[in-house]
């Protein structure tokens, strides 16, 4: 046993010394000589030559050879089942070892196979015998399976049977080589591992930067789907304002909503502590109120356009009557923080505070707070009721958009896609359940949501913070309406950008509309003119949209309404009786002003809430 171990160790030694010193070129000489056939002494000669080159271990090897002679018969030499003859012309030293190993094993394999095929006498010489057998220790240490190459398993074509032997030889060598390299790399030659190379879409927690290639691709698909024959043309809008008003003392604060335009064409703007009304038809300016020491933080017209609610720094909301220019009532939030956003729904005012609470106030009730929703963790800077009142969208400084179900006072959808404060919220007037939201300085994206399913319909990168969003329309030469959305921004362009809703293309832009960022904007009652106010204390009016075409809209609107009746029965109903609710609210506000609580009105209010 000891002898055997010793022997194999020796063999290993010899093997290594031979292999490490034999260059592939030498092997080639050797193997080609061999393949020429004729004599069986090649192995001996070649090996001897290499031995002679091995100056270090030469003596050792010689000594071992002597000592081994006696052991040869006891050693059972492994059966060689390889038929591939060697012819490896590789000059690269990279393959050296692998190639050499194969070569050696194959030399021997060839000798055995050719012995039967060529009926060439096998080496008879005893000296030869021992050299060869000495050499044969090498394969016993090699992995035999390495050399078993079955061309059938590799599914590679064999050369035609009538091809010259050298062709066959080459084919087999190639095969063996492939196999060897594959195995060295730990691969299965018959298998490919394929990776799908395109990057998966980026998860919405961290969105990718704007990529022009992705957008054009997307747009291309959209256009294809819609089969739009004409290319979307850039729209020309007048980049000069139609009118510029001075707005001294305008608070350059992103989180405040200090501009509101009523459908009776009154534009309300808060300049620090004072509230001014600008009559759009006559151009008159009147000051409604000046609080002197409390700043105004939000201004919103009521749905009936006769009242305006003013949110203040101290957390109070005041409702003013425009007809009489008098204070109707003060609603205290008891939070002590500023009210930065408001939205009216008939007799309800939703107010969003700096601390993140949304309070629903009923202006008809003495205890006006009917519910408080405290889900946001940052300042509320955007609030908007959907037209039918079933949903309220809120955006906060916690980068969250929530779409509330007003019937159950719970957020129906919570969207955390934005990476900055969400101030701009706008419900689509054309499609009842589409909401557009815009993120602040670090986000710069407009997201479009389906408020029914909660899915994201699309995303537009604007390149600057989005301070407000408004839906509009333009008409192509064929009379087809294009749904558009306008966004106002800050750095670097301080621009007003108009995007097409369907293609998400930017179709018009007014760069440097203001000297500094645009904080608020409002669309005129006819939907054509955008009033913008920015940190440069200017109030500018830009004409961005074409006027709505009544006749076109009528037919389409009726069809849509009918569809709505089927799809949202409740929403249709609420719109139907919204008229008398409005009337009620007016009278109710007046009664609450006198301090007389009418029991029937509170009942009606609760009815309203239930609905």
């Amino acid at each position: 046993m000891l002898d055997h171990n010793n022997k194999s160790k020796l063999a290993h030694n010899a093997n290594r010394s031979v292999l490490s010193l034999t260059s592939p070129a030498k092997l080639n000489i050797m193997s080609s000589e061999w393949s020429r056939g004729g004599h069986g002494k090649i192995g001996k000669r070649a090996l001897r030559r290499t031995h002679s080159l091995n100056s270090r271990s030469l003596k050792n090897a010689e000594a071992h050879l002597e000592s081994e002679k006696g052991f040869i018969p006891s050693y059972a030499r492994p059966k060689m089942s390889i038929s591939a003859p060697p012819l490896v012309r590789r000059s690269s030293s990279f393959f050296k070892e692998e190639v050499e190993r194969n070569d050696f094993s194959r030399i021997r394999g060839h000798s055995s196979s050719s012995a039967c095929s060529n009926s060439r006498p096998a080496p008879q010489d005893s000296d030869d015998m021992h050299m060869v057998s000495n050499d044969r220790f090498i394969p016993s240490l090699q992995n035999n399976s390495q050399t078993k190459v079955d061309p059938m398993a590799l599914k590679e074509d064999l050369p035609p049977p009538n091809a010259s032997p050298s062709t066959h030889l080459r084919a087999q060598t190639k095969l063996v080589f492939k196999q060897t390299v594959a195995e060295a790399c730990g691969l299965d030659i018959n298998q490919r591992i394929l990776q799908y190379m395109p990057q998966p879409p980026v998860a919405s927690f961290k969105r990718q930067n704007y990529s022009i290639s992705r957008r054009t691709h997307y747009n291309y698909q959209q256009c294809q789907q819609q089969n739009q024959p004409e290319l979307m043309k850039l729209r020309k809008i007048n980049s000069n304002p139609e009118r510029i008003l001075d707005a001294p003392g305008y608070q350059d604060d992103f989180y405040l909503n200090l501009l509101s335009w009523s459908s009776k064409n009154f534009l309300a703007i808060a300049l620090e502590t004072a509230l001014y009304l600008w009559n759009g038809s006559s151009g008159e300016v009147t000051m409604l109120v000046d609080y002197k020491d409390t700043k105004i933080t939000s201004v919103v017209w009521s749905d009936d356009d006769c009242h305006i609610s003013v949110g203040k720094e101290d957390g109070n909301t005041e409702i003013w009557d425009i007809e009489t220019m008098s204070l109707v009532r003060t609603m205290r939030s008891n939070l002590g923080v500023r009210i930065g956003a408001q939205s009216w729904l008939e007799t309800l005012v939703a107010t969003g505070s700096r601390s993140g609470e949304i309070q629903i106030n009923d202006v008809r009730l003495k205890k006006h707070i009917v519910s408080t929703w405290a889900e946001h963790s940052g300042e509320i800077c955007g609030l908007s009721y959907k037209k039918d009142g079933l949903q309220l969208a809120s955006g906060g400084n916690d980068n969250t958009v929530m779409i509330w179900d007003t019937r159950i006072s719970m957020p129906q959808w919570v969207k955390r896609t934005h990476t900055a404060a969400v101030k701009a919220l706008s419900w689509c007037p054309y499609i009842p359940n589409v909401l557009a939201t815009g993120g602040g300085q670090t986000d710069k994206h407009i997201q479009l949501w389906n408020s029914t399913t909660g899915s994201r319909l699309g995303s537009i990168s604007t390149g600057s913070q989005v301070s407000s969003l408004h839906w509009g329309q333009s008409y192509s030469s064929t009379g087809q309406m294009n749904r558009e959305i306008v966004a106002t921004g800050g750095n670097p362009g301080n621009a007003i950008s108009v995007f097409n809703y369907d293609t998400k293309f930017k179709i018009a832009e007014i760069v440097h509309a203001h000297e500094s960022r645009i904080c608020c904007s409002q669309l005129s009652p006819d939907g054509t003119t955008l009033a913008t106010v920015g940190g440069d204390e200017n109030l500018k009016f830009y004409k961005v949209f074409e006027p709505r075409r009544k006749n076109k809209r009528r037919t389409k609107g009726v069809a849509e309404d009918v569809l709505n009746l089927f799809s949202h029965r409740s929403s249709g109903l609420s719109r139907m009786d919204s008229g008398d609710c409005l009337g009620d609210s007016q009278s109710d506000v007046e009664t609450t002003n006198d301090g007389n609580e009418n029991p029937s009105s509170s009942q009606r209010a609760s009815n309203f809430l239930i609905r």
Partner: protein, 198 residues
């Protein structure tokens, strides 16, 4: 002819299973935000499916190609790797082995036709197991920092579209591997396993 129809049906079952499992893995492992997922009923289970159009399209393109390979019996493994974005390190590897039972290698074995409801039951059990595996898998902290890659093991002679290219096997280092249940259709046998960093 009837065999080709059953092959198509069986392949469809396998591809659908892949879709469901990829979606639920992406959800369970938090690769994508939970806001992007919506519930659907499938195999008598409530599964989560993405509603992000980009991701939907991405998975769809992959599975369409895998489907083609499966029909041609060229694909024998589908791998979903969850990769750390910063380090480009494979954190988890979900492997689905597909055995083509009607392949010439197995032709001598005679299969009695499987009841489709039996297949459904097996798929349900497997998906339940995948869902439950979250309990023992290490928590993926640093939400949003992961992405995924899909590998397909195909035959050497399969037709490969441009988007696919050769890759290494993306092994997880120091991996612990857990084998899941298998399911079988008339033509395919699918087994799943997950390797994760120990």
């Amino acid at each position: 002819m009837s065999q080709s129809i059953s092959l198509r049906g069986s392949t469809r079952t396998v591809t659908e299973f892949f879709e469901c499992s990829i979606n639920s893995i992406l959800y369970q492992r938090g690769v994508y935000s939970q806001d992007d997922f919506t519930t659907v009923k499938k195999y008598g289970l409530t599964l989560l499916k993405t509603q992000d159009d980009d991701l939907k399209a991405y998975i769809r393109v992959i599975l369409l190609q895998v489907h083609k390979w499966l029909i041609g019996q060229k694909c024998n493994k589908l791998v979903l790797c969850i990769v750390d974005k910063d380090e480009c390190e494979v954190i988890e590897k979900w492997a689905f082995d597909v055995v083509h039972l009607k392949n010439e290698k197995f032709i001598e074995e005679d299969h009695e036709p499987l009841d489709p409801s039996e297949t459904q039951n097996q798929i349900r059990a497997l998906i339940r197991q995948i869902t439950a595996s979250v309990t023992f898998l290490p928590e993926l902290t640093n939400e949003g920092n992961y992405t995924f890659n899909v590998l397909a093991y195909t035959d050497a002679n399969a037709k490969v579209p441009l988007e696919w290219s050769d890759s290494d096997s993306k092994e997880v280092t120091n991996a612990e591997t857990v084998k899941f249940k298998t399911f079988a259709t008339n033509d395919h046998k699918v087994s799943a396993q997950v390797s994760y960093k120990h």
